[in-house]
Structure formats: structure tokens, C-alpha cells
Symmetry: C2
Subunit: 216 residues, 2 copies
């Protein structure tokens, strides 16, 4: 019933994250791939999550969070991102070093401690990677964004977020002083001009991790 192991939370988070920037519902096979487990493992967990009223699932169809599931998922995401923000803001971590620690702590920190951290940080709205921190009620403020790899030459905009999946990418961009808020113009695939006129060559891996303001 009140089934909330760390594994279940990770499934919920992954289901939620898939829709967060990609838009469409996730399929069991995509979920298996993302989590690095066999499809049959997904089927099993899906059964438990559906029984607990956290997702809906028509057999052979894609997965969708229920309201309860979305609330639980955003709660985990909220923890993850607040913890990351805290590690960078107060504990001396770099933005490429926070993910693993947050991945563990998001399952064990109490609500009370989380809110204490939140208050200390001054109720931040975004984590170090530019990801919005869901509110306690599950609300998320997320502006339209598109990948730098989908941008056209000449397009200008602002970096909104960097996927924190690949630490090497984060280090590359940190060295280039590129992060959320950076204003740019794409001058070639993938070279960008910064506001101060400097030019930066971006690796393909990095470009595929950078989400920017949607073009007009």
C-alpha cells in the first residue's frame, strides 16, 4: 500500500523525468534501458506501483503517473535538487560532484531536514544545473526549452539547464564558464559566441546536454 522503497522512488523519478523535458509518456522498454534493468523487472515493479495507485498502466501500453504518483515523484526530485543545491551552495561541492550523493540522500533525508535546508538556502527555485526545484505541492515552473543540438545557426538565447547525467560534460562546461543563465548566439554547429564576444567550441556530447530558451 504505502510502498516507498528507494527502488520504487527511482522508478517514479525516472518515469517523471522522462516526461519533464521529452514530453511523451515512457514505455516499459525505455524505462528498463534508462534504469539498466531487464524488461521483466520493469513489469514487476510496474505492477506494484499500479497496485499502490502511483501509476496507471494498460497492459502493453506506456506508463503514466497518477496524481499521487506525480506528487511522490516530484517530492523525490525536489529532494534530489535541493540536496544538490545545498551541496554546491554550502558544502563546497562542484556541480559535477553532487549527483551520486544526492542519489542516495534523496531516499533517506526527512521532510523536516529538507525544509531546514530549503530555508537556509533561501528557498531556491533552481538547482546548480538549472533544473527547477518542484514546490512541496508538486508544482514545477518550467519554461519552454530546446536542445542546443536542435538550434539553428544564428539563433540567440540563454542557457536554461545542463543535463547532469555526464560529469565530464559538466566539467567541460565549467571550464568554459558556461552554465544556466549564460547568453549566447550559435555561430556554427557547435560554436557559440558569448555576450562578451568570446567564442566557445562545444563538444557534441556537451551540446546534447545543453537546453536553451526556445527560439521565438
Amino acid at each position: 500500500m504505502t510502498y516507498t522503497t528507494g527502488a520504487a522512488e527511482d522508478y517514479l523519478k525516472t518515469i517523471y523525468s522522462h516526461t519533464e523535458w521529452q514530453g511523451d509518456l515512457i514505455t516499459p522498454s525505455a524505462l528498463a534501458l534508462r534504469l539498466g534493468v531487464a524488461p521483466s523487472s520493469v513489469t514487476e515493479m510496474v505492477k506494484k506501483l499500479a497496485t499502490s495507485g502511483l501509476i496507471t498502466h494498460v497492459p502493453y501500453g506506456p506508463l503514466a503517473l497518477t496524481d499521487a504518483g506525480r506528487l511522490r515523484a516530484t517530492a523525490v526530485v525536489r529532494r534530489h535538487r535541493l540536496i544538490e543545491t545545498w551541496l554546491v551552495g554550502e558544502m563546497g561541492y562542484d556541480w559535477d560532484q553532487v549527483h551520486d550523493e544526492a542519489e542516495v540522500l534523496e531516499h533517506s533525508i526527512s521532510d523536516r531536514l529538507l525544509e531546514a535546508i530549503n530555508a537556509r538556502l533561501g528557498f531556491p527555485t533552481h538547482d546548480p544545473h538549472g533544473d527547477p526545484i518542484p514546490a512541496a505541492d508538486g508544482t514545477v515552473l518550467r519554461p519552454p526549452a530546446s536542445l542546443l543540438t536542435d538550434a539553428t545557426v544564428g539563433q540567440s538565447g540563454t542557457v536554461l539547464r545542463i543535463s547532469d547525467r555526464d560529469p565530464a560534460v559538466l566539467r567541460e562546461l565549467a571550464a568554459d564558464l558556461i552554465g544556466p543563465g549564460t547568453e549566447f548566439t550559435l555561430t556554427a554547429p557547435f560554436t557559440i559566441a558569448l555576450a562578451d564576444g568570446q567564442s566557445r567550441l562545444i563538444s557534441v556530447a556537451a551540446a546534447a546536454s545543453i537546453w536553451v530558451t526556445a527560439p521565438d
Copy 2:
């Protein structure tokens, strides 16, 4: 081999804690009692811990930590107490509210984060309850202490630590402004006179939780 689940850490911690102030080795039945599990459960865990080289155990005899086991145990205690100190010092917790949170986090926080917390706190030597924080190498500085219930009338001394087992006791003492460092003279079982001349009536439960400097 490198067997370190949360449960195993709790067994090690409990074995260690028993010797910390009581002195003698713990027996399986005492351990079972303290942990709230059946004796057969202890036997099983003891087998695993012994196989992993963390404790020594002659059948039907008491339990003793090996050097490796003691190091692991003090490491967990160190985490527990640093976390408690941090919760009180920076996160607005009262000293009767930190135990449960520390009980969970002590198993999931990383060494790196622990050391960052330690540094922020200025490398404290004692937790909010007056318990010494073991060093990273397992060293513990612990002055001789005895229970207030064992003190004789007229005896003077300083409160060294309060057992954090019972939150109600902690709240009682906080209301009386009694804590580690409080100087006192025992005027009756259990009334103490404080340095400013004020007198305090101490409940039996509280007196049995207060450790004071050993009499000369």
C-alpha cells in the same frame, strides 16, 4: 566479505556502545534485548560479523570487536554524533530531536560530506549530549565518568554527558538548563545545587541518564 549493511552497522555500534561507558563485554542476550530482536537473530548476525572479521566470538561466550570491527563501529558512532551536532548547530534542531534523523543518515552519508560537515562545525570534539566524537582513526577521548545515581550526597562535579536514549529526559533537563558542562553539588537523592546557588529536583529517570565527573 565487505559486509556493511545498515543493520550490521547497528549491531557493531551497539556492541561498541555497550563497552563505551559500561566497560564489560556484551553478551548475545543483552545485545538481543538492546536491539529488540530474538536471540537467534543475534546468533545469525554474529556469525556474519565474525566471518567478516569484525568481531571475535567463542561459542557461548560474549562478543568482542576486532580492531577492524572497532574501527567500523567508531566510524558509525562518529557519523551519528557529527550529524547530531550538525543538526543542533546549524539546522535548528533541539537536542531531543536529533537522534532518529542521525540514526538513518549515519548509514547513508558519504565520507566526503561527513568531513565537509565536520569542517564547517570547526571539528567539534563532543556531540550535543556530551558524547565524545571519535576521530577518523577511531581514537576516542573519554574521561572517567559515573552515573549521578551512583553519586554520594555532598559530591560535587560537572555533568559530562546525558544519555540521548530518552527524549523526555532531554526535554526535562533542557527546561532545567542542565547539560554537559553544568557544575553541581548533589544535596540529596536527587537534588542538585547549581553554581549560581539554585537548586534542581531531578527525576530518577533523568538521574539515571546523567553521567558526571568521577569522584576523586
